[in-house]
Symmetry: C2
Subunit: 303 residues, 2 copies
């Protein structure tokens, strides 16, 4: 397949590009310096691919941090919503036949009544953060293009990712970094926010495998949860990180690291992805955590 | 009540202002020349109301034409989505206690399986036009502000409006204009688009009465359909217009007036508005049509 990636320079984009290369795909990347919220800039950048006959576009470019979005909602909507609108319009002109994998987020579900967990794709959307609202809005943008113009849009709703290379503005990566640091400098305690949250984690390498399977087997107009189906507390993952690192540290809670408004417990139903795409997560959580620790060790040692 | 209206210079805004005045409310209007998609322009304009302690904000300002939105989606999203985001942020600072009536549209439902008609507020959203997608997105913006910040947002989903003063880019007003013109110049035929569509029409004066009742009795975070509950074909309304006008004309179908992508048959369930707000439409459709004809007669004679 010939693939075009937006957001190729990001954490997920990098893993996706690697996975596509190793699957034998041809990979093109939108220049990451292009502001996709700027219609003419995006159209100009996309024009470079006009003769390429791309089979699939993986639309990952986004402002993706939940906490940061509270202070920058207009910017977040510009990139995540107007950017998606611009991408769909330009690809409608350049590659009308291409499948377009639009990456949304499990955050669109908001706080889900525990009785309805694990949550499936037909649940109502109840975004809690500007980021989540922007992703719910972008889904409408994308599915409208499917309904009105027949664009072959597929929506991916990934739950929490973990894996090597993730920024420490995400909780598991942040804790792994602190565990590695503590071990390096002999510290016996590390701070953490809300350890009692339950989330559904999938290794980023399994997530990008799901995206490629959507490009192969996904049905246009359909939404797919990408998740393990199991919720784990941050505390459990933190304990596993400590054990795997062989560190001797305790957590000290820092209320400053909590957000007032936060989705706490969430788990997804991945039945559709498993049965329609024959996808399932392959990487055990211990492997993911070990790789995250190794990545931070290499990175922190290098400085 | 002290009310602030955005979009006061529009068709619905004008009727709303009149209704609020006659109900004894104090009415403020946002300068209609302000581009609400421009954050700093809107904040500056809203600052004028900082000392006013407004009880309710009626957010009507929008690019509201379904057909036009296909050619101007980025602009439509700017005004309808980013504009709503800006309005909520500025009112969070200026009037955090105000109720905010965010006017969405029945277009968010898209094409509804006839088995699910009349459609209630819990139906899935499936926007078909960029306009509809922008309204679905704006609902997420507004409800996110309710969930995260406690803003007292209420969503109105009006179905089709009719009434004096409506632009002839809307079907019933367009037909009324042509009927009046035909009668004036003795023509025996008038062109029309898809007369077989079924829509749920409510007089704009009943619609704005529902908005005021939402300000009084509506529950924050809740969505209310505003509709009659009955679907009528455009053909039936067209025949009624001809009879009421005493005109002797026939319709000639013009496929150029049809849109390829259109919501055809729709009717809404207004149970929530009726039971929770004690609202019901008061104006018979014949009165609405007679008033629309009278308005066009006066307007076309004046030239």
């Amino acid at each position: 397949m010939k693939a075009l990636i937006t957001g190729a320079s990001g954490f997920v984009g990098g893993h996706l590009a690697k996975h596509l290369f190793s699957s034998g795909d041809e990979v093109l990347a939108l220049d990451p310096s292009v502001d996709i919220s700027d219609e003419s800039a995006l159209f100009e950048a996309m024009a470079a691919f006009a003769s390429e006959r791309v089979d699939v576009i993986y639309h990952l470019a986004a402002l993706a941090h939940v906490g940061d979005s509270f202070g920058s909602s207009v910017k977040v909507f510009g990139v995540n919503v107007i950017g998606t609108l611009n991408l769909l319009e330009s690809s409608r002109k350049m590659s009308p036949e291409a499948k377009i994998i639009v990456v949304s987020s499990s955050e669109v579900y908001g706080r889900v009544d525990p009785r309805y967990l694990p949550v499936d794709e037909d649940a109502p959307l109840a975004p809690l953060s500007p980021y989540a609202a922007s992703k719910a809005a972008a889904e409408h943008v994308a599915l409208q293009a499917f309904r009105a113009y027949g664009q072959r849009v597929i929506i991916a709703r990934p739950f929490n990712h973990i894996g090597p290379g993730q920024s420490d503005s995400y909780v598991v990566s942040a804790i792994a970094r602190r565990v590695v640091m503590a071990k390096m400098n002999g510290s016996r305690s590390i701070v953490a926010g809300n350890l009692q949250s339950k989330r559904d984690f999938t290794d980023v390498r399994d997530v990008v495998d799901a995206y490629r399977k959507m490009a192969e087997f996904g049905v246009p107009g359909v939404v797919y949860n990408v998740c393990s189906g199991k919720a784990e507390t941050i505390a459990d993952l933190a304990e596993k990180l400590i054990t795997l690192a062989g560190a001797d540290v305790k957590f000290v809670s820092d209320p400053g690291l909590r957000r007032d408004v936060e989705v706490t417990d969430i788990a997804g139903d991945s039945t559709r992805c498993r049965s329609e795409l024959n996808w399932r997560p392959q990487i055990p959580i211990e492997t993911s955590l070990r790789d995250v620790l190794a990545w931070w060790s290499a990175r922190l040692t290098a400085y």
